[in-house]
Amino acid sequence: MAVSVDEAVSAGPVRDQTRPTRRLGGRGRSVLEIALLTVLAVVMLFPVLWMIETSIKENRDVYAVPAEFFGFTVTMEHFKDVFVAPGGGRSALSVAFLNSAVVAGVSTVLATVLGVPAAWAYSRFAVKARKDQLFFILSTRFMPPVVVVIPIFLMYRQVGLIDSKLGLILIYTAYNLPFTIWMMKGFVDEVPAEYEDAAMLDGYTRLQAFRRHTLPLLVPGIAATAVFALIFSWNEFVFAIFLTSSDSVRTAPPAIAGLIGGTTTDWGLVAAASVVFALPVLVFAYLVRKHLIAGVTLGAVRR
């Protein structure tokens, strides 16, 4: 049977309560913990805070020395610039955001649609050399994108996929698929195969049994997997900068990077664009945080 995260934790070995410990008392310990966590939080969050602050400062405040943490004039100009071109109409950045949404969305859907049935098959059927196949699938993820980007660039040039959204969608799907298959296989393994067996004896075909009984139970797993795939596609930089060049195709990460350089850098605009870029994933991840944790801890405890 499926083991929930709670059960898995509580089933751990019981600590010996009688053994004398030299740990700090409850109060002292929690103070120390809170202090350490606060330091950690400040270190981790400072760049984020600085980004948000820069995005709402006027340009002269951005360059002020010493830097002003408080008491600067708040402006929304940079955010306007992210979406609206200087002469009116849509800015290049807003096009890039739209491209990012399309590329990340479509590649995630594709990876899920292809990966879930594959995971189901690997989980349920006696496939020849299953372990070797699964290892091969995983091995495609061993190399970082930057290692394979040149060969892919050359191949794409041959087949005319350079500087196209389709090209990005395909490479992101290919990159997400191994991850989707492996993670979903874990989730499918947790759903007892008996549900499908029972449904088949009740008069359904194998595929109907999968669709009607297993699939609904996999929804949380699919959500978690899709979020990870989406985050990867949304954040991906190396492929995007090598394989695309025109403003109409480029996704947000290279577009934002393109703002830096030249004679002057509009840091306010860079910060505002980064905030806009980070928000959707943050919000999305927050909404499905329960599933994300389930996805990360899955398989940590064996039945």
Binding site: E194, D197, A199, M200, L201, D202, G203
Partner: protein, 355 residues
């Protein structure tokens, strides 16, 4: 209801593992047939092949007069009860029961009537509007049984249905299944690794080991004359004592001097082992008539009986079942006496019954 025939079944998975080597048996209409064996013996694979959930590599399966080799599970007209119940978690009891009927496309009033009948038979009235997670293990298993009943199939397949229940509930459900089977006159194939379950339920038992049938017979037949050393060790708790014997002067003699009546037709010049049930032996005071010297190694006090483990002629694990009134201390010198009839005798090299 219909009989089931399994002929020369062989199942080999694509990765090369052989789950079923060679299985043959024939189940009569209305019979409760138990497949018994340790895990990995091929009993569940055989059952799943009968259900159509696995396709055998070679061999034939007939249900009634139909050869079902190439029929999908749905067209075999059989119902199966699983170890994990496999109740659909998002459906209430009522809908779980109705599910297979709706899949068949039966008209509503008939679905309703059949669900009510199955619910009455399994006493599920108060549970009809609950979901599986609101039911206890025993209740879930009763719902699973009812879901099998509601179809009125030609045969029932049970895959270790009681394994997940606690001991007391298991005994109750065993009675219930046996009663139900008798009442419906249902053909039932029951898979278990629990020999008590097999003995108490089965009209006939097939003992499987390493993908082969070692023995088929009624519970008493397999208990009295296990067909192989494997069966001898598997049936009975504590299991049969296997005592090395030699044929001398028309008698079977153990190293410790125990003398047994040999069955007729014993082969000569072979290493033999006699299978002696713990209740066919007796612990006596030392030096009692017809007894041989032995020593108590340990005693298990079970309340209604005592299992003595005695050391007899260098063999340290001879088990003897005694009434609780006969008491000997551990390490005490005692006598050991054979009180049963002719024992089953096995050849050590073939591990099979020779006489």
């Amino acid at each position: 209801m219909a009989g089931i025939e399994v002929i020369a079944l062989h199942k080999r998975y694509p990765d090369g593992t052989v789950a079923v080597e060679h299985v043959d048996f024939s189940i009569k209409d209305g019979e409760l047939f138990v497949m018994l064996g340790p895990s990995g013996c091929g009993k569940t694979t055989t059952l799943r092949a009968i259900a159509g959930l696995e396709r055998q590599t070679t061999g034939d399966i007939r249900i009634g007069n139909t050869l079902v080799n190439d029929l999908p599970p749905a067209e075999r007209d059989i119902a199966m009860v699983f170890q994990f119940y496999a109740l659909y978690p998002h459906l209430r009891t009522r809908d779980n029961l109705a599910f297979p009927l709706r899949a068949e496309g039966l008209p509503k009033p008939e679905v309703h009537e059949r669900v009510a009948e199955a619910a009455r038979l399994m006493r599920l009235g108060p549970l009809l509007d609950r979901r599986p997670r609101q039911l206890s293990g025993g209740e879930q298993q009763r719902v699973a049984l009812a879901r099998a009943l509601v179809r009125r199939p030609r045969a029932f397949l049970m895959d270790e249905p009681l394994t997940n229940l606690d001991a007391e509930l298991r005994a109750d459900m065993r009675t219930e299944i046996k009663h139900l089977q008798g009442e419906l006159g249902a053909t039932m194939v029951y898979v278990t690794h629990d020999q008590v379950e097999a003995m108490s339920l089965g009209h006939r038992i097939a003992i499987l080991n390493k993908g082969r049938v070692e023995q088929t017979g009624t519970p008493l037949e397999v208990y009295d004359r296990p067909a192989s050393l494997f069966c001898a060790a598997f049936i009975g708790a504590p299991p049969m004592n296997l005592i090395e014997v030699e044929v001398a002067d028309g008698k079977l003699r153990s190293q410790g001097g125990l003398v047994l009546t040999p069955p007729p037709g014993l082969p000569r010049d072979r290493c033999l082992v006699a299978g002696v049930r713990p209740e066919a032996l007796e612990v006596t005071a030392p030096g009692a008539e017809r007894s041989v010297p032995a020593r108590v190694v340990s005693a298990e006090w079970l309340g209604d009986e005592i299992i003595y483990v005695v050391d007899h002629g260098g063999q340290r694990d001879v088990r003897v079942r005694m009434p609780p009134t006969v008491r000997f201390a551990a390490d005490a010198p005692v006598g050991l006496r054979h009180t049963g009839g002719t024992p089953a005798v096995y050849d050590v090299s073939t591990e099979e019954l020779v006489a």
